[in-house]
Symmetry: C2
Subunit: 285 residues, 2 copies
């Protein structure tokens, strides 16, 4: 086989999109970070809006759903996959990773690493869905990196509905945040992981409640950095510059339901041109 | 065929269970009413806890999910089906009814009838999920019964998460209820339909906000009455008295996820002995 053929194939593989998925809209905060940090990369995003939320569901169900989504993304010929959902990263990633034919990363490890670097007193708070917190994944991950770190978790089940209802800045969200965060504050944490991809959208409220002495960690930022390092290591970085005004072809969005509503939301948080979204039947994958 | 055989078969059919389904736990308020009003009837309940909630999802998805559940209930040899979910009653019942081999009723028509009887000023408020309210089903149903009645709908998306978080009596629930209900109050309604099966659980909060001049309509009560009338009409009433301590065999609960959590919740609102719940893969029906 001539050497040119291999190079061409490699290049072609490099230009394939990255697959990103979440139970719904939250993962868009991760997609947005990838767009910011790696403007050459194409993205295929899937939001499981027909079965959202995952955070109140069982490990088994979360694994079944995540496996279907990975099969869908592979059918779209992605070169790598980002599990942009803390709950799916906690429960499904360890099961999927061993037999996934492309590199796959989640949001938990990057978040844990940042938190360990950030904490001075060795006390890290984690907020997330019921499933993420009861999985204990952040706890395990952080202690693996730096044994002896104290990790205090708190499930915040109302944050996702409050975000989806648009109450990003609202006395009710303040009151609920106070209740959820008071105990963590009293324990003396100096670092707080936003362990659900919805939470960066109420970052201001959370910051106001915990005050300036607690550093907030948004795993989305670190996940995009980690994706870049991974693609570099695997020689998979895209090399073609995106053509002007090509947001629609560069970023493809799929959902399992409510494409119009998703599109409106996506366009409100991602400012890279008008995006559209298609509905697919995910339970057939 | 000897006449005795037919009678025996008829009797056997009468002793079959009634199927009741909801997107999750809310329909238990309807099941509870059936248990209270018709203590001889057996019930097979299905809660779609893997895909809950339905109220923020599309008509198409709600129909697909409801059809799978009806197929499951028919596989359990039910003699009739109660769609104990307003959203599924609004969107899926009209599609399923024409080809359903057993009698099937929803919660919307009974609720609408009660409201029409209750209102003196001819102004009825309806609260429910986004999907139920935007379907306009209560509006159509009420105007069919008494044209000229004014129907004012309001979606209350945070009520379900607040109920599931256990904030049944809480200042936050009061505040959210005030926001949702203020406009309806200002319009001068004298009757308010609790158009979501979760809402009876925060009935006290809602009653406190709307005051004593607004009558609350809980479709669960009327739906159980309608089921009784239907079974009488179809000669399908159960005749065998339930045996003592037989709650477990008389009432069977199935869910698509989180059976343990469902069981705890079911036992907290239904006081007919210890109930258990089994998990099934509903997307295979």
């Amino acid at each position: 086989m001539p050497a040119g053929r291999t190079v061409k194939n490699m290049n072609k593989r490099n230009e394939l999109p990255v697959g990103v998925f979440d139970s719904g809209i939250g993962g868009l905060t991760v997609a947005r970070e990838i767009m910011r940090q790696m403007p050459r990369e194409k993205i295929v995003y899937f939001g499981d809006t027909a079965r959202v939320p995952y955070g109140s569901k069982s490990k088994e169900t979360i694994c079944t759903y995540s496996e279907q989504i990975v099969r869908f993304l592979l059918s779209q010929e992605v070169k790598a996959i980002v599990v942009a959902c803390n709950t799916a990263s906690a429960y499904a990633l360890p099961q999927i990773e061993p037999h996934c034919p492309v590199p796959i990363i989640g949001v938990v490890e990057p978040g844990a690493r940042t938190a360990v670097r950030a904490t001075k007193v060795g006390k890290v708070g984690v907020i997330g869905t019921k499933a993420t917190i009861s999985s204990g994944i952040y706890d395990r991950c952080i202690r693996d990196i730096r044994p002896g770190t104290q990790v205090l978790g708190r499930a915040c089940p109302l944050f996702v509905p409050l975000v989806e209802e648009g109450l990003w800045e609202d006395p009710v969200t303040d009151e609920i945040a106070r209740r959820y965060l008071l105990e963590l504050m009293n324990e003396g944490i100096d670092t707080l992981i936003l362990g659900c991809t919805h939470y960066p959208l109420i970052r201001k409220t959370i910051a106001r409640i915990v005050g300036p002495d607690v550093q907030l960690v948004n795993p989305a930022y670190e996940t995009a950095m980690e994706l870049q390092a991974l693609l570099e290591r695997e020689n998979l970085l895209a090399s073609e510059a995106p053509s002007l005004g090509s947001a629609e072809s560069q970023y493809r969005f799929y959902v399992s339901d409510m494409a119009e509503q998703f599109k409106t939301f996506a366009n409100s948080i991602i400012k890279y041109g008008i995006l559209s979204a298609k509905t697919i039947r995910i339970d057939q994958y």
